[in-house]
Symmetry: C2
Subunit: 222 residues, 2 copies
């Protein structure tokens, strides 16, 4: 199995590439500059033990084409729509996994949602009904992902209008040794994406004695 | 210290009244029908050990007047704005703690937000800048609250435009032996209120092996 991570040379993309490759899933790491992502892919491979799946660096278009089925979008929100416009012709038959959080310019303790309501809904509107968009992996700290010795301290909330696609992404994400929950259709992304700035606020706050906060769904405590 | 719980005869209001009274905070339990809330207040007192703070049943207006400073709004969303319109003259100098979630009519796995963005923002718009509105306690299960032997299995996310009021509500909520986090201004309620239907979805789902789910902010796991 091979996934693509578009905008994969940022901290979130690199961390996910490391975690997926370690779990046996090959990664086509996409960047605007294929030479740059090839260099970073080699650096990432050097951090992994022998025998993991391969991380290869490509430009975004080649990475999208290289994915069997799932293409993870990990660009900054400012590049979200333009990147999808460019990749749309190559996404037919695939699932777009949108991890982008529309953080407010200049204030990462807030979101500034697009008119569609959330990044996930904007992506679905842009790509049209034929290409399922699934929101996922919004709330996991890049620092945690890149520290391979750290267990991931959060659950993953998965949303999107296609239930079969949601189920596939839940399965994909569970290889990272995290729990993943079906959070409903794409509209739930208005909530899920907006959890990230609440976590960032705690990480920055002097009143909270830890950083890299995650969020978990908890059973009753009795 | 005495708080009011408006719409306090519903399951959420009753559970909160029990928990606050046990923690030493007197409760004026408000209902449209003061005789009904007086009966329920007596029933609740019978469930508590000797020496807890008092729960008294009043009509909503009398309960609001009886509160020292904090008035908790726990009505169904369909009664949210009309209740606030009626109580507005009595809320001067007090803090409204809005726990209402605008669940979608006929589908509790979704929210249907008011035009202001969330119930908390709608309340703030309706009451005007002179009466601080704080969103809190949206995501705690009524069943958990009413089972006094169960620890509360969630953290409380607190939001609202007034930082001093947020701090007061954080202090209030912590008497319930829960952790409470400052989640930012009232706009954060668009996220926090919408967590509840995601939890309800898990409670209903056959794929999730528990009900009465809560949500927690988690430190790194290393």
């Amino acid at each position: 199995m091979k996934i693509a991570i578009i905008g994969g040379t940022g901290p979130q993309g690199q961390g996910l590439a490391l975690r997926f490759a370690r779990a046996g899933i090959a990664v086509a790491l996409g960047s605007r500059d294929g030479a740059r992502s090839a260099g970073i892919a080699a650096d990432l491979m050097a951090k992994l033990p022998e025998g993991t799946a391969q991380i290869e660096g490509l430009d975004n278009e080649a990475a999208t084409k290289a994915a069997d089925e799932m293409v993870v979008l990990a660009v900054p929100f400012s590049a979200h729509n333009a990147t999808l416009e460019a990749l749309k012709p190559h996404l037919a038959g695939k699932i777009l996994v949108d991890i982008v959080v529309p953080l407010k310019e200049g204030d990462p303790k807030k979101v500034e949602m697009p008119p569609e309501g959330s990044a996930t809904e904007a992506a679905q509107a842009l790509l049209g009904d034929g290409i399922p968009v699934i929101g996922a992996l919004h709330n996991v700290s890049a620092t945690t992902l890149n520290n391979l010795d750290w267990p991931i301290n959060c659950d993953i909330l998965i949303c999107g209008d296609s239930l079969p696609a949601r189920k596939k992404v839940i399965e994909l994400v569970r290889v990272l040794d995290v729990e993943a929950y079906n959070a409903g259709d794409a509209e739930a992304a208005r909530c899920i994406e907006a959890i990230t700035p609440i976590l960032i606020r705690q990480n920055i706050s002097k009143a909270v004695p830890f950083t890299h906060a995650g969020i978990r769904i908890c059973p009753p405590a009795h």
